[in-house]
Subunit: 1015 residues, 2 copies
Amino acid sequence: MAVGPLAFVLVVAGILCAESKFVVYNTSAGIDPGKLNVHLVAHTHDDVGWLKTVDQYYVGSNNSIQGACVQNVLDSLWPALLADKNRKFIYVEQAFFQRWWRGQSETVQNIVRQLVNSGQLELINGGMCMHDEAVPHYIDMIDQTTLGHRFIKEEFGVTPRIGWQIDPFGHSAVQAYLLGAEAGFDSFFYGRIDYQDRAKRKDEKSLEVIWRGSKSLGSSAQIFAGAFPQNYEPPSGFYFEVNDDSPIVQDDITLFDYNVEERVNAFVAAAIAQANITRTNHVMWTMGTDFKYQYAHSWYRNMDKLIHYVNKDGRVNALYSTPSIYTDAKYAAKKAWPLKTGDFFPYADRANAYWTGYFTSRAALKRYVRIMSGYYLAARQLEFFRGRSDSGQNTDLLGDALAIAQHHDAVTGTEKQHVANDYAKRLAMGYSEAEAVVATSLACLVESTSYKECGNPSTKFEQCPLMNISYCPPAEADFSSGKTLVIVAYNSLGWKREDIIRIPVMTEDVSVHDSEGKEVTSQLIPITDTFLSFRSYHVMAYLGKTTTETPKYWLVFSASVPALGFSTFFISSAKATGANSAKSKVYTIERGQKSSVDIHQGNIKLTYSAEEGRIAYYADSKRFVEEHVEQSYSFYTSYNGTKEDPQASGAYIFRPNTTFPLKPEKKNPLTVMHGLVIDEVHQQINPWIYQITRLSKAKEHVEVEFMVGPIPIDDGFGKEVVTQISTSMKTNKTFYTDSNGRDFIERIRDYRTDWDLKVNQPAAGNYYPINLGIFFKDNEKEFSVLVDRSVGGSSLVDGQIELMLHRRLLHDDSRGVAEALNETVCVVICKGLIIQGKYYFRFDPLGEGAKWRRSFGQEIYSPLLLAFAEQDGDYWRNSRTTTFSGIDSSYTLPENVAILTLQELNDGKVLLRLAHLYEIEEDKDLSVMSSVELKSLFPGRKIGKVTEMSLSANQERTEMERKRLVWEVEGSKGNEGRILRGGPINPAELVVEIAPMEIRTFIVQFDLHQEVFDA
Amino acid sequence: MAVGPLAFVLVVAGILCAESKFVVYNTSAGIDPGKLNVHLVAHTHDDVGWLKTVDQYYVGSNNSIQGACVQNVLDSLWPALLADKNRKFIYVEQAFFQRWWRGQSETVQNIVRQLVNSGQLELINGGMCMHDEAVPHYIDMIDQTTLGHRFIKEEFGVTPRIGWQIDPFGHSAVQAYLLGAEAGFDSFFYGRIDYQDRAKRKDEKSLEVIWRGSKSLGSSAQIFAGAFPQNYEPPSGFYFEVNDDSPIVQDDITLFDYNVEERVNAFVAAAIAQANITRTNHVMWTMGTDFKYQYAHSWYRNMDKLIHYVNKDGRVNALYSTPSIYTDAKYAAKKAWPLKTGDFFPYADRANAYWTGYFTSRAALKRYVRIMSGYYLAARQLEFFRGRSDSGQNTDLLGDALAIAQHHDAVTGTEKQHVANDYAKRLAMGYSEAEAVVATSLACLVESTSYKECGNPSTKFEQCPLMNISYCPPAEADFSSGKTLVIVAYNSLGWKREDIIRIPVMTEDVSVHDSEGKEVTSQLIPITDTFLSFRSYHVMAYLGKTTTETPKYWLVFSASVPALGFSTFFISSAKATGANSAKSKVYTIERGQKSSVDIHQGNIKLTYSAEEGRIAYYADSKRFVEEHVEQSYSFYTSYNGTKEDPQASGAYIFRPNTTFPLKPEKKNPLTVMHGLVIDEVHQQINPWIYQITRLSKAKEHVEVEFMVGPIPIDDGFGKEVVTQISTSMKTNKTFYTDSNGRDFIERIRDYRTDWDLKVNQPAAGNYYPINLGIFFKDNEKEFSVLVDRSVGGSSLVDGQIELMLHRRLLHDDSRGVAEALNETVCVVICKGLIIQGKYYFRFDPLGEGAKWRRSFGQEIYSPLLLAFAEQDGDYWRNSRTTTFSGIDSSYTLPENVAILTLQELNDGKVLLRLAHLYEIEEDKDLSVMSSVELKSLFPGRKIGKVTEMSLSANQERTEMERKRLVWEVEGSKGNEGRILRGGPINPAELVVEIAPMEIRTFIVQFDLHQEVFDA
């Protein structure tokens, strides 16, 4: 007989006697004021692209990369919610939700509407994506949030109450005050703050605070803000996704492994542990994580049981909750909370792991997003001027692509390469449609006297999105045959503007005339061989074309363009017109040939040390500012990771190994191109860095254009290339960087406001995101650097600013993306990506730098939009509109106010956003209340009604203010001076007051029957 | 500007123009006679224990071992079926289904009833588990199928139509004809046949056949049987479980990666490939695999789309189907099909991968299951005699445990160790309850004159489940104080029986008397030291007890017990009674001391070669049979696998490396124990094999008891221990093994009936499962070996039989279990498991062996059930019933008929199964129609109604016959002689005819008011 089996002795008497049967769990618990309340917040975190594209995540394809299917989540969710009215869920990412919503039957839509109305399904955060907070521009953040919020409002009639930025890698002031409080949120939750900060906050029970992100708006834009104790996942052992290996609750006494007691004890222990670092008797458990709830029932089955048995046990009170319920409970506790100002950058999740690499990662994608952002703003203006089409081409696709690109694994550069390609493809497609809208709108405007009179215009405008590589077919026309190139330059800013236009041309036989027929001073700058080979490589790579004829010159000239309007310029053969563009004077200076070289345009003079091969001195004769300034390049070799210390530098994390200065190679001369419009100094710094320094009469600053790459990696090391601009200023460790291009925040090297910083990465740990610019000051001067995209930067040495321009890495940094950030461009073989870009710097007397930063910052964001057409003879000038302004021609916006949004909505109403550009105390003249005359903004229309809205335009501002929770702040910090805010609008006068840093959002309705120009 | 992104050139014009919206898929397709029909059969394969226990699989715990949760499957299934009435699903394993059913609300139960009634949810196969087909006994297969089928009938009123044995490792004749045709199935599908066989059948389009498993019942028990072309999974690329990486059908034109055309083409290609190896224009796709459909919707979402778009395409016709619909379509084609006889053993899935190891794996568990099986049969009889209790203790738990143990990863030994422990625990718990039922029933029977008169009997019977290690506390009493041990021996067979009773006693002062007070000849056999240390080790290991007093002797005596009844024996002090048990004459023969030693009991004489230390000659003086016979041990070293040829020997696969004969060690003598009842030869073959050869007067055969283990593994090799019994018979490669203990099937070494065998594993490839026995013959004699559990065996050399007794392995064989089969027993340290067991052999004149094999085979399966009580003096003999028969005492069952089932059902009716024990032409006297008088089986009761049922007792036999599909067989093979079958029962006479190999199943209802003994 058998001896093996455990056999007869293991009899557990009676264990199988009881009959299992259908059990109804009591899940009805609400808040119990006498107990510790554990708020179970069922959620899924659905990245709008990361390892897979947004569409792949949605439909659940490409699962070999990552098992994730949002369709499963939403398909399985509503039946699970229907099954028990106590169950709740929050859903966040509208890009997914909208995809899903479109595919549902009316029956399901009606069920979901009920679930939203009853609060079982709460749509929170509510933008298209959970945008990053370091690298997006605030306008993009507003736009993408508005897209989501307005959809939610239209479909469900509700407004999200909660900011839920649980995954972005650090948190910005603009997020807290602008996209939080100003968007009408009652609270804001997030997962990632510095590990040292978190430890201290856990000690002090200060993970939950009142966050005042804006110095200017103070308590009027503060928000209750909670950082999670660990991350946005459940406590260990409470994961209930299908196939997760947490112990499920086994409460069937007819089966083995019954574990209700053990599970209840584990639950209570985890709850108490969290209560020990949390104020009030409310703790939140984030029951979910990335792409979970693919079968929602598997979570609810276990949470039902936990609530039932934990409450039966009685030591703590467990309930289905949402962040709204949790926030209300915190509010009801009537406590005072610690105050938080500033932001949560940079973020490190452990020693030597500063997530500051992604401030620069995929610098090309970052620039592409920024260009599209400015274009989208302009295109919506032009779309409005012509009248929006819902069924035909419109700007929606670009808006959608831009919204998705703000995701915290999109513009951040922390996605896989194929996903980055997908974002770029979407932007390209969105651009393509917007480009057509722009072309048609401009055609309408040039063909009609009133911008409301336009059917199908005959003018075909071309645009040149590849102008950056000097590829612009319409400009490459042969003017000798008598043809004229018409350039319409549109200015989306609210002020008249002087700017430089720059197009490639084939010959020197060109002249420029304005709409009056007057010759415009122009200059021809030779296109260098370096640039031409750059051009041909990328035309082949991206268009698959071999370019035979190549342009020989950049034609540059100064242009003056009205506010929200355009001017027209005509390029034709010089021989035909008698005028001629002046060729630049070109000369090369061998290194050591002489000690210095000056270039000079307008008031600015820049002195080069010919010996060092670099900028040495800056002088502004108008502002009486002079300063030693040196500009140089260097690179960090990226830490590759070792077995003992595996943290490599990667897409997220900047972990330098050593740093190498790159001295300009002696053999390469300086080439100076001098002319009437522009001076340029060309310089091949080393085989893979080319730089042009540029001064122009129209612009009183230094423009530096760089081409960095392909970064060599054949030594087995990734490299992170930076530029340093050094002055002799005494800056006392202090510098200022912008928050999402909006407020400037003081940064102090090796120091944090909120805790006693332990420095372990002196470079990476002092990097901050830069969207607009960085500056510092001493007792006399300010030195400012403005950027053309988001980059990482710092002041690691007093008087010096450093910007990271490009990164090429060979290792993954173990934060999930599982790819080295090694971008290439391929023509037969693949070469490392070249980053081309610009930054701008200038010195100002102390207290006067803001004007340049704010005004020129607007110009960087909104460059002139150029459209090209061809004509024979003078027909155009005689029969077409050659100058135009969308606002009253006698009016201009105040210098301190910008139009952020001018957009026709699909209901015919217009969304208008006006933003004050200055913080309090930023500029002695401009940090004041300003005002805008709405009537002047809409010439030819009769404004029927103007409604002030919340920032995301999903509720009336008054309603939002009425509902706002008023939180108490600990200590005396609550007492601050009066906060400046624009007052209500007199409906007769329609003048909008606007205070420093205020953004005011309006829905404008026109009275169609009383238009001045009737269609 | 950015150069990196793919940017502007990737514009796919118009791809995003269309609006996605809710799509209703057309899933209504039925069969299209003009096209290739692809039957999508949605299914999950849920092992009733394997890597996890059955309960863990059900609730989804222990997911770190395997992500699997049957609750998810069934919870998510019904909503998915409700959502579209065209969707269908089959569910198989009732052990899971019943667990689930118990926990559902009435609402859900009603929905599921509707789904079953409408055919959307079809319950097929329908046993508690998908039993293995090699190692279970047919009675266990019937019992476990009956349990499931009757539940389905009671809850849903339906009878499963389809056999669905998709995973067992080879397929048996008994499965096909008995558990298939006789269970009322219309067809039978399976996944695993030899890879060479499969290749040929694909070539010949003969994967689908008419299978006649029984020589005796022929076409009356044939079935349409289909082997899958590959396995039971979907075609490659059509897996749709959550997170599977098959390409989902992406049909939303507003998203990227639209792939409808690609998916339709892949579908059509896979369908055509399968059609090319299949007859008729119907192919089946098994859409599912192990534990899939955890979120059923993810499969249906994709299948909906496939059906919709494939049918729109029109090249083939896709439909939701079930094996029933598929079978009906095959039937409707009115084709003749190839004939298949015999079985599909052994199974190899590739060269050198014969799944013949599991025939022996976990030999102790296999024995435990077999003991429980016999006990369950007896216990149900006794339960019936007393009257079943639904609420109190009954045999259901044992029935359930046994049912689950038949699973193809349970008794097979191919589960993880912790799961094997779980099966054993369940059996132990089931046994414990059944033991109480038996004790109470016997107490009732001994205390009352009528077996219907019993309340709470006072007699407390003990039983000795650990008798195998000589642990039997009641027998270890001290008789010197005048106490008497009462032994009630119950015989569950339908015939009076002579057998040997064997109990351990403490002293030689014992005597045995029968119920008449007559002394019974008995013999005392010393318990050897080897056995005592074996005993104490396992008492400590399994009971945690140190045994101080140890028994000194086995007391053996002959017992005669009536059919379905008991006899009583009394053991008392010899001094008190004057009688005395005779001590055995014990002598040891040193090896080489003399040339031979004889032992002799009854007609059998066995000669040992003292020099070789082994059996040498067998002589039967009654049957005039003599034969040289040698018995020996050897082991195969298990192949460990190499990098180039990784297939190791493992729990499933027998892959020997080399073979080593184990010569009996010279130093160990033969010890002969001779007496009036028994002769034994004890022999320590080597340090880890101990053997006893035994002859007894009552039994005319040789009994070999062995203890094998711990198998040494310190040389780094697993070992598989076999015994060989060699004769000089000329057997011409031919031998016979049973099919699940029922029919014998001819086996020819290195040969298969169905294809031209390519031999690559001469040992493993010739192994067959043995449940009852193995035999061969020459022109004069038959040689038969019967076993006490399922083992693997063969005749690898003419005249020789080999049985594999024990396996201890160090490597996994890569079929999923991921554990080496290395069983241990632990007392402080763990030692390799010792297998203790018996086999029996005998020679018979040609044509006469069946009687012994069949009759003694019944005795092995149903040993005497011993119950022990204690008494003082002669009270018992005077006041108690000491002999009993449950059937009319004047009646005995015919020698060729056995009672398989006598069980009171929970509705008070009685389930009776009668089985003819002989095949046609098996025995010249007994292979004939027999008959049983039902009235005599139920003395004291009035039979009200007898209804003949299908084998699994879920429908009336007449109804089953009426519905049976009549298939046509290719060629002339369909023409066979008349098949013998028992005729209908005359309700007045109630005599059951029963033809060779027939099993007839009845529900017997008694007329309660006309019982002869009225309670």
